[in-house]
Amino acid sequence: MGGKSEENHWATLLRAANAGDTEAYRQLLLELTPVLRAFARRGLERAGLSGADAEDIVQETLLAIHLKKQTFDSKAQAGPWIRAIARHKIIDALRRRGRRLNIPIDDFADLLASPESEPDMLIGGVDGHLESLAPGQRKVLRAIAVDGASIGEAAARLSMTKGAVRVALHRGLAALAAKFNAEEP
């Protein structure tokens, strides 16, 4: 895991995602998640914190990747781009926990997947911020994320147009990312 071929594969998926390929994008996020989890665990453990809290950093990093995926240069390699975002989010998270750590960049030289699976119980993370979203955005996010509704199903269920669902979803996700950034240390 995490070798050159893996990174080339991610670059292909990222390019496809930026060209509008939803399935490639979903695949990319699924493949990156265990890698980001290992990253976050390592960062937390280096700072003397429990690696068990890694999941909200994983979620925050996924949101950052989502909102900034257009900054991936189609001619660039995927590894440095992913590492830079992940490292940045770990440093952000540690700072909020009152740890000022200078993480050597070598710590993230390899992108190894974590053997740990996602914890069943999640405290904090996206859930903590979901409640503070506008009601419309929260309902759309819940319908699509938790209940697995498509854009069309969510629109029918909430008596909204598809366009309005798309807008609420995008704004809701952007608001979630902003809530992470605004968290008090």
Partner: protein, 194 residues
């Protein structure tokens, strides 16, 4: 919310495509540069006989210098807003510009008699130049900064500074077509001072 759920929401949002920082910058620069060009033509005007004077090495040098600053700082700005992009080589490349300017100043000092140095350095309208370049740079800067919000700078301060340099270089390049002072000494004083 489980991470798998979050991914479901992120994938559903993936048709909300955004334009790349490069395209955003190009689109934002078009109106910015057009406005500055209009200001230049309306209030300053091109230097008389600009085309005929292009054979003048000092004028040509001034135009090439400012144009190369634009051409080198633009890609640097774009790299600074892309996570993980290599920046060092671009910064080193940018150092060519002051190096060329310093070399040209040396040549100028050798060619021109020392009694004229002061006059060449100050030129005939240095204060006007210092006031005008930022005005011509304002519209490109106003276009550049929002476009950079499409990006994700790892060092926002550095990215902002590079954007300022880029916009300033555009202002200086435009102003160079008007300014009657050609001496590299004057160009150096004008660029280094602010």
């Amino acid at each position: 919310m489980r991470t798998a759920h979050l991914i479901r929401a992120l994938a559903a949002d993936s048709d909300a495509r955004k334009i790349s920082p490069g395209r955003a910058l190009a689109l934002a620069l078009i109106p910015g540069v057009v406005i500055s060009l209009c200001l230049l033509l309306a209030f300053l005007g091109l230097r008389p006989h600009l085309i005929a004077l292009l054979g003048e090495p000092r004028l040509l040098f001034k135009l090439c210098l400012t144009a190369s600053l634009v051409a080198l700082s633009g890609p640097l700005v774009l790299r600074l807003v892309k996570p993980g992009a290599a920046v060092r080589s671009r910064v080193l490349l940018l150092a060519i510009v002051p190096a060329f300017l310093a070399a040209a100043c040396l040549v100028e000092l050798v060619v021109v008699s020392p009694t004229l140095w002061g006059q060449e350095l100050i030129g005939s309208n240095a204060v006007f130049c210092l006031k005008t370049i930022p005005k011509l740079a304002a519209a490109p800067l106003i276009g550049t900064l929002p476009a950079l919000r499409q990006g994700a700078p790892e060092k926002p301060g550095l990215a902002g500074a590079a954007a300022g340099l880029f916009a300033g270089a555009i202002g200086a390049a435009l102003y160079a077509t008007h300014c009657p002072d050609n001496s590299p000494l004057f160009v150096a004083a004008c660029i280094v001072w602010p």
